[in-house]
Symmetry: D2
Subunit: 343 residues, 4 copies
C-alpha cells in the first residue's frame, strides 16, 4: 500500500482527492492537513465522506509528511514551493495540483503569479503531468506539476493538430467555458449562487494565468512559439469545462477524424467521439475522461475542436491520481474506474 498525504485538503480539489483516494485499492491515506480547519474531521466538512474518511484535518507536520510515499499539494499557489525541497530530500514523491511547478521559466512565473519562485532549481526537473504528452517522464518523476484545468482541456484538443503541423500556429483561439468550481472553495461574492447562476460571462480576457501554461505546452509539440487567444468564461454549473478550439487548417486532404482517433487510440482517458458529435460536459461528470469531437464547419478553413473534461477530475484530482499511478507503476486506471454521473 502506498502511504499518501494531502496538504491543504479543504478545497474542492481536496475533497475530490479524498473521494477518489478513499476507494483506491492500493492507497492508504495517512494524513490530510489544513491550518484553518485543524482538528475538524474531514467528513464534517464534506458529509459525503462519512464512513469513508475517518481522518481529521491536522497541522502540517514535516515528520508525518516525510513518512509518506507521496504527498499531494492541493494548496493555493506558492505554498508547495516552500515545502517541496525538504520532501524530495526525504525521498517523498510530490504531486502539486497548484501552479508552482508548471512553468519552466521562473521569470514568467513571477510575472503571472506575482511572487518570486522559492526553488527555481527544481523547475527543470519537475515533470508537467499531462500523461498523454509526458507519460514516460512522469513514470520516473520525483516531482510532478499537475496541469491546470483549462490547459488540460485545451492541450488535449490541440496537440494532434500541432504535432502534425497542420494548423496555422499564429491564429489559435481557445474559447473556454468553466463551471464555477474552477474558482475554488472560497467565499467570494462573484461565486455566490445569486451572482453566478442564471448568468454567463467572460472574465480575464486581458490575460489569464493559464495562458502561459497552455502556450508552453503547445510550443513543446509545435516546436515554435504559438499565437493563442484564450478567453475563459464562467458557466452556471458546478463542474465541467468545455473548450471550443478554432484553428486555421488549410490542408483539406487530411482526415482529421482518423488523425485524432489514431493519436488517442491507446489512451485510457481520452475518448474521440464519432464524426458530427458534440461532447457534453455532463458525460464526464465525476469521471477522469476527456471527450473530444472534431469538426470542419461548412468545409471551411477553420477547424473546430470540442473538448470536455470535469475540471475537478481530469482537470485536477483525477489526473493527479493518474500521475501517481504512473509514478508508482500501478495500473493507470486504478481508482479511476467509475463512469460519469448522468443525469
Amino acid at each position: 500500500m502506498i502511504k499518501a498525504g494531502i496538504v491543504g485538503g479543504t478545497g474542492y480539489t481536496g475533497v475530490e482527492l479524498l473521494r477518489l483516494l478513499a476507494l483506491h485499492p492500493q492507497v492508504d491515506l495517512s494524513v490530510i492537513t489544513s491550518r484553518s480547519e485543524c482538528g475538524l474531521p474531514a467528513a464534517d466538512l464534506f458529509p459525503n465522506l462519512r464512513g469513508y474518511v475517518n481522518l481529521a484535518f491536522a497541522e502540517p507536520d514535516p515528520a508525518v509528511l516525510k513518512a509518506c510515499d507521496v504527498v499531494f499539494f492541493a494548496t493555493p499557489n506558492g505554498v508547495a514551493m516552500g515545502m517541496v525541497p525538504d520532501l524530495l530530500a526525504a525521498d517523498v514523491r510530490v504531486i502539486d495540483l497548484a501552479a508552482d511547478f508548471r512553468l519552466k521559466d521562473p521569470q514568467l512565473w513571477q510575472q503571472w503569479y506575482g511572487m518570486s519562485h522559492a526553488c527555481p532549481e527544481l523547475l527543470a526537473e519537475a515533470v508537467y503531468g499531462l500523461p498523454e504528452l509526458n507519460r514516460a517522464a512522469i513514470q520516473k518523476a520525483r516531482l510532478v506539476a499537475n496541469p491546470g484545468c483549462y490547459p488540460t482541456a485545451v492541450q488535449l484538443g490541440l496537440i494532434p493538430l500541432l504535432e502534425h503541423g497542420l494548423a496555422d500556429t499564429q491564429y489559435l483561439i481557445a474559447d473556454a467555458k468553466s463551471g464555477v468550481s474552477g474558482a475554488g472553495r472560497k467565499a467570494e461574492l462573484g461565486m455566490l449562487l445569486c451572482e453566478a447562476s442564471e448568468n454567463f460571462k467572460a472574465y480575464a480576457v486581458s490575460g489569464h494565468r493559464h495562458l502561459p501554461e497552455i502556450k508552453q505546452g503547445l510550443r513543446q509539440v509545435a516546436h515554435t512559439e504559438v499565437g493563442l487567444t484564450f478567453v475563459p468564461h464562467l458557466t452556471p454549473m458546478i463542474r465541467g469545462i468545455h473548450a471550443t478550439l478554432y484553428a486555421v487548417v488549410e490542408d483539406r486532404s487530411v482526415d482529421l477524424q482518423a488523425l485524432y482517433e489514431q493519436h488517442y487510440a491507446r489512451e485510457p482517458f481520452v475518448d474521440v467521439l464519432p464524426p458530427g458529435a458534440h461532447p457534453e460536459t455532463r458525460s464526464v461528470r465525476g469521471a477522469n475522461y476527456c471527450r473530444i469531437a472534431v469538426h470542419r464547419p461548412q468545409n471551411g478553413d477553420v477547424v473546430t475542436i470540442l473538448s470536455v473534461i470535469d475540471n475537478l477530475v481530469k482537470g485536477a484530482a483525477g489526473q493527479a491520481i493518474q500521475n501517481m499511478n504512473l509514478m508508482f507503476g500501478l495500473a493507470e486506471e486504478s481508482g479511476l474506474e467509475s463512469p460519469g454521473l448522468m443525469p
Copy 2:
C-alpha cells in the same frame, strides 16, 4: 456471475442501473431492452457509459430474458405485471422498479393507477423491497417490489417513531421535495429547464400515488391505519429527495437521537447524523445512503425528522441492486461502495 437483464432501460432509472451494474463485480449484464430505441447502443443515448456498456437496446425477447438469473423492470407502471408470471415460471427472479407489485390490495392499485391488475395472485408473494424493513423476506424472495422514491425517504424517517409507538398516528405530515429526475425521462413541458428551474412548487396535493404506498408501509410498523398528509414538491435540481416529517410526540422522556441511532446501528445505508445536523441532498448524490436527522424544535410537541436520499439510487436503482445482493446472498454493499459526488 449473475446474469442480469433490464427491461426498459431508456429512462433515468435505466441509465442508473447501467451505471451501477457496469461496475458490479458479480454481475454480467446480458440484455437491455427498449422497443422505442431498439438497435441503438446504450452508450449512444448515455455517453457517460461509453467504454462501460457495449450492449445495444434490444426488442424484449422472452427467451433471452428467461435465460437471465434476474430481470429488473425499469418500465412504466403496468408493464411488468404482464411479463412477470412467465419469468417467475422460468425460475427468473424479478425486481420491479415500477409500482406494479407495491400495493397489496389490487382494488387500491386499480384506484390509484387506473387499470386492473394483471396478476393479483402475485401480490401476496411479492416482497416490498425496503431492506431496512423486510431484509429476511427479501433474501428469500422471487419477486421484489422496489419501493418508490418518496416512500423510501418517508418510511425510513418515520419507522423508528412508529415502531416504538411514540407518535400520534393520526397527524403525521410528510412535506417532501424532489429533484426533477423523479418525474422520469419524458418530454413533458413542465419538466423543461425553462419551466422547472428557478422555480419551486407543490404538486398533486390532492393525492399522489405514493400516498397509499407509504400508508401501507407505515401501517405495517404502527399496527394501525395512519393518518398521513403527504405533500410533494418539485425542486429545481436534478437529483435528491428531502423529506421533512412532522409528528406529534408528547412523551419527552425518550431520547429520540439515541433511539434512531440504535435503530439503524447495523444498517449499511442509513446514516443518522449527530444532534442538530441538517442533512443535505448533495451528500448522497449518486450514493445509496439515506441520511437522517432528528429534531424537536423549541422542545415542543412536534418532532421534526429530516431524511434525504438520491431518488435515483436509494430511491430506485441503488436500492434495486441492494435487493439483488440480498436475494443472491452477496455482500449487501456490493457494487454500491461509492460515496456521494460533492460538490
Copy 3:
C-alpha cells in the same frame, strides 16, 4: 415628488429598491449610502441599473438624510435603531427593511438578535408593515417595520384561517422554502453556487429569527398565543419563497376557498388561485404579489395552504414601496405595476 434616501444599498434588497424606485413616477431618489462602497457608482456594482441610477454610494450624512421625505434602511439588523430617532425628530418618515422594529417586546428582540435595543421607546409606535393586516395604521405611521420575507408568506397564508377561529392554534406548521437571495449578498461559503445549487436542505430547525415575528403577527389575529413549528429550507434558486402551511381544521362545513377569496377580494397584491391550483414561485418573480392556494387533501382534517412570494419584492423591497405609497397617500400600486418575469 417624494425625496427618498436609502441607507445601506449594496445588498440584494438595496439593488431591488433601486430597480423599483428608479421607475417610480412620484419618487426622486436623492441619496444612497454605503460605508464600504463609498464613491462607487451604484450602476458599477449593479450593471442592470446603468442608465437608470446615476448616484454613487455616499457616506451616511445625517444632514442629507434629514433632507429626505422618507429613508429606507436596507442595513444589517441593529443599524437602523441607532439612526432612526434623529430622523424622526427631523420629520423624516422611516421604513426599516431590517428587523429592528418588528418585535414589540425588547426582551424578545434581545433574545433572538443578541443585542439590547437602542430605542425600545419606539417599538410601540412602530407599525408592522403588512398592509393586508395594518393598512390604516401604516397610512398614519412615521416609522414602519417592514416584515421579513418568511413572515410575509406565512402570515398571508394563515391569517384568514386564524381570524375566523377555524384552526387549532396549537398545531400550526409552516414548512417554508426560500431561494438563496434570502441570505443576502454576503460572501459566505454556504451560499456559493457550488454549495447551494443542486442541493436542498433545511436549516435553523432549532429556531429561526422569523419565528417570534410570525408568532407575534398570528397572535394578533388569533387573539391567543399560537403553537407554531417553523422549518425553513434553502432551495437552489435565486428568488422565491414557497410556504407550505398545515393546520388542523375539523369543521368541514366552511367553504375555505370562498373564505380566502372574500378575505383578499380587495387586496391589490394577494391573488387567491382557483381550487386545485399550485402556485409557482416563478409566477411572482420580480413582482409584488402573494399567490395563495387552499387545499384539504383527501378531505381530511389537515388543511394545506400554499403561499408564494418573491422574497426580494413582496418579501422586502416591493412591500417597502407599497408601505411608502400608503404613508404618502399615493396609489398603493404605484411603481409596482410590473408582472412577474416568466420564464
Copy 4:
C-alpha cells in the same frame, strides 16, 4: 391606441410579447391566437399574467386579425408566410418574429428551412428589423422581419468593425452561448432540466440556420461576402445570449473603444461598457439592451468583442416592440423602459 394581435402566443416569445405589451401605454391587445390552446385564458398558461391579460387564446380568424393595426407572428417558421399577404392587403402592418422574411434569397431560405417560400415576392420589401442598422427603413415598413436572437447579438457586436473596414472579413468567428429558452417552449428531451442543467455543450456546429442570416447582415455593412465560423452552445440557464466574437484587426492605430462608443452613442438600447469590462447576461435579463465590451487581449491581432442580450427581449419580443414603436412613430423606448432583473 394601436390595436395589436398576436398569432401563436403559447411559446416563450409569445408570453414575453404579452408581458411587455400588457404595460405598453399606447397598445391595446385585441387578440391572441393559438390553435392548440383555443379557449384557454392566456393567464392560465402563464400565471404571471393573471390580472394583466384577460384574453383567451382564440382560433386564428382572418377578420379579427385584419381589424388590427399590427399583427405579430410568434409562430413556427413557415406559418407567417401563408397569412401575411392577406394581412398586408388589408393594410395591417406585420412583424414576424420567425424566420420567414429574414433571408432575401428564397433559394437560400429553402436550403436552410427545408420548404419553398410561399411569397418570395415580399422578400425584397420586407425590412430586416435591426433598428441599429435599418432604422429609417423600419419606420416606413409594412412588413418587418424581426431578427433572430444570435444574429442580433453577433451583428451588433461586429457591425462597427466591419463598417469601418477594420477586420479581416475572411476569418470572423462567433462563439455564441444561449440560454435554453432560445429553443422555444417545446417538449423535447434535450431541453429537460435533467438533460440541460449542470451541462454545457455545443450544437449544430456543422451549420445553424442563423448562419446565413448573420452573413447576409454582415455582408450589407462589409460590402463583401464574409467568412464566418458560427458555433452555438447551450448554456444551463433560462435567458441570455453571450456572443464572444473574434476578428483579426491588424491596424493597432485605431481606438476601438472610442469607435464603438461613437458608433452607438445615440442608440437607446446598445450600451458600450468601459474598457476592460465583461458584460454579464443577467445585467440584461428581461430588458431590451445589448451590452458590449471591446478587448484586444495581449495587444495582439485578434480583437475580442463580448456582446450580451436577453434572447427573449432584444433577441425577440422586445426588439419586435422596438420595431413597432418605430413603425408607428412612437417613442422608440415606449413599453421597454424596465431595467434588467438582478439578481
